[in-house]
């Protein structure tokens, strides 16, 4: 969302004032009974799928929390890139596998991080859970509702941890916004959330197979193109609703404390008629209980406003932009004169008492341990807050494995946005209003 420098300064000041002193790590619960340490070293994990997303998680794995024993990927070129990512992150080398089943059979693992194409989430996650491993699975939870429910049921049956990787749940900006503003009633009554993810690109990837004779058909991809651009094919992907909207619907469910009951959708392949099967323009309105709505749009023809979530309340408006910037505007507040240089706002986290707490200053975020992060550019073009959230996500998963700390996005939270977005895919295809079945329906 475009803001003038004056509006940025005002919104930034308001946000920081509202969240000042809010503990970042809320709800983890300090020990109330005397407990000693839990013996054990870093959690032994394997990575399944080390494409772009898998490598982001790989490079943000804190060696104090996790020891990456092995990694599996059907594409050897991805494994070579993963080696380079490990080296760059100064992490030890890991054993390579093409088949994830062979990896979990041969290696002594405690958990896995899964970042494979969406259609394979259920098979891989359930296979690992059944093998006695804890699972951190990339979003969206699964390709279909039945897959989501099977994953949740398998996690319950095996008693193993299943965390779904919506990194906003670990992002300190979002945690502070929820704890300090939304939960505290700072927005008043919110009837509308605006969710946007606008880009100007065709989402198609280009690249050569790892070898001229490389044949991915035994893994279900008839050609190299199907594997390379799996996001563009309906068999493997749910398109922009799964890859983008599910993040924002997940946040909306969190902030609204509810799941949508129905969705109205429209969209289509309007720009890139290149043989892809998923839409390049998608619009969906999610209807929540209490007359609340979340209006989502994603376009692949203009990146003017990038991605953001806005919550419009009777008292104030909260804007979260690009997973790193946060602004708060009180209703009817007169615009302030320009008073600050335009720069992204982060959150300064310093240890206070038993845990890190937020303080109002315009500096950058800290990592999961409360250590101040290097301010400004990350060298990757990715905001520090986002990388910090990835790091906190993997570390949080390891803490849950080792000492049972609460999950930030376990199956019960993740399934809500998955069911909503899967239903929205159908609504867009039918250009219709469809009811969304409750994710709690099969919870028992």
């Amino acid at each position: 969302m475009h803001l003038t420098p004056e509006e940025q300064a005002l919104g930034r000041r308001n946000f920081l004032r509202a969240i000042a002193g809010v503990p970042v790590i809320a709800g983890l619960g300090a020990a109330t009974l005397a407990r000693g340490p839990v013996s054990g070293g870093p959690v032994r994990i394997g990575y399944i799928g080390v494409g772009g997303e898998g490598r982001v998680l790989l490079a943000n794995t804190d060696p104090a929390y996790a020891h990456i024993v092995a990694m599996a990927d059907i594409n050897p070129a991805q494994l070579a890139l993963a080696d380079a990512a490990l080296e760059k992150a100064k992490l030890p080398k890991a054993v390579h596998y093409a088949e994830w089943r062979e990896m979990i059979q041969k290696e002594s693992l405690e958990g896995v991080v899964i970042a494979v194409p969406l259609w394979a989430h259920t098979e891989v996650a359930c296979g690992c859970l059944e093998a006695g491993l804890h699972v951190l699975c990339e979003k969206m939870m699964a390709w279909d509702v039945e897959g989501c429910e099977r994953m949740r049921a398998t996690a319950r049956k095996t008693g193993k941890i299943l965390e779904i990787g919506y990194q906003r749940n670990y992002n300190q900006v979002y945690q502070a916004a929820y704890e300090g503003i939304v939960k505290a009633g700072g927005l008043g009554d919110v009837f509308l959330a605006r969710l946007a993810w606008h880009r100007n690109g065709n989402w198609r990837r280009h690249g050569d197979p790892p070898a001229p004779t490389y044949d991915p058909s035994k893994w279900g991809y008839p050609t190299w193109e199907h594997l390379l651009n799996w996001r563009l094919y309906k068999k493997y992907s749910r398109g922009l609703l799964a890859e983008l909207a599910s993040h924002q619907v997940n946040v909306t469910n969190w902030f609204f404390g509810a799941e949508p009951e129905a969705v109205i959708g429209t969209g289509g392949i309007y720009r890139f008629k290149d043989g892809r099967e998923v839409d390049d323009h998608v619009y969906a309105t999610f209807e929540y209980p209490g007359g609340r709505s979340a209006v989502f749009s994603t376009i692949e023809s203009n990146a003017f406003e990038r991605n953001y979530e806005v919550f419009y309340g009777t008292k104030a408006t909260l804007l979260l932009q690009g997973e790193s910037e946060a602004y708060l505007f009180e209703e009817g507040e007169p615009g302030a004169p320009a008073s600050a240089a335009a720069r992204p706002t982060g959150i300064d986290v310093q240890p206070k008492g038993s845990g890190p707490a937020l303080s109002a200053s315009e500096s950058r975020a800290a990592d999961a341990a409360g250590r101040p992060a290097v301010g400004g550019a990350t060298g990757t073009g990715t905001p520090a807050e986002r990388l910090s959230a990835y790091r906190a996500e993997v570390s949080g998963f390891c803490s849950a494995v080792r000492v049972g700390t609460p999950l930030r996005c376990g199956p019960d939270r993740a399934i809500g946005s998955a069911v909503a977005c899967i239903t929205a895919v159908d609504a867009v295809a039918q250009k219709a209003r469809l009811p969304i079945r409750s994710s709690a329906a099969s919870a028992s």
């Binding site: 000693g36 013996s39 104090a64 390891c398 849950a400 000492v403």
Partner: protein, 171 residues
């Protein structure tokens, strides 16, 4: 001269038990590492090297040399085991005199490694000390326990002495 009164005896045994628990848990914790805090933060393996390197006072050069020597890894093993053995001795009241002597020796070493001579607070350490710190106070408390012969008041030393005496009678 008569022995300690009932309440003096109870107080001395309580003091011995508390000191013993302090030693026992310090040793157990070091042996348990690497581990994780209840809040989910990883805790690395324990080493005396950092403590030795941070040594101050007149004996600092000796402790600094130990930190860089081949003995450092033996110290990392010996200290936690010694803490556990001494702790068990004092908690159980078994070989209490030897336990108190061991406790006094360890505390003397810890004190000599970091005698507070500057009288100002230091980051990461609570309180402000000049010459007398809590280590020295605990050493004095151990000497009181040692001098009081608490093994003869309560603890497994009583059972051990009875067993030995019985064997002598039977022999």
């Amino acid at each position: 001269m008569t022995g300690p009164s009932r309440w003096q005896g109870v107080a001395l045994v309580v003091l011995r038990t508390l000191i013993g628990w302090h030693f026992l848990y310090e040793g157990y914790y070091k042996l348990a590492l690497p581990a994780w805090s209840p809040a989910g933060a990883p805790l690395g393996a324990w080493s005396a090297a950092g403590y030795l390197r941070a040594s101050s006072g007149p004996f600092a050069p000796l402790f600094h040399a130990l930190a860089g020597s081949g003995a450092a890894r033996w110290i990392d093993v010996a200290i936690p085991i010694a803490l556990v053995v001494v702790g068990l001795s004092l908690v159980l009241g078994l070989f209490t005199t030897r336990g108190c002597q061991g406790a006094a020796l360890l505390l003397a070493l810890f004190y000599l490694a970091a005698i507070p001579l500057d009288g100002v607070p230091h980051p990461g350490a609570e309180g402000t000390y000049l010459i007398v710190n809590k280590t020295l106070v605990e050493l004095a408390a151990v000497l009181v326990v040692l001098a009081s012969g608490t093994g003869a008041i309560a603890g497994l030393d009583l059972w051990r002495q009875r067993t030995v005496a019985q064997r002598k009678v039977n022999a």
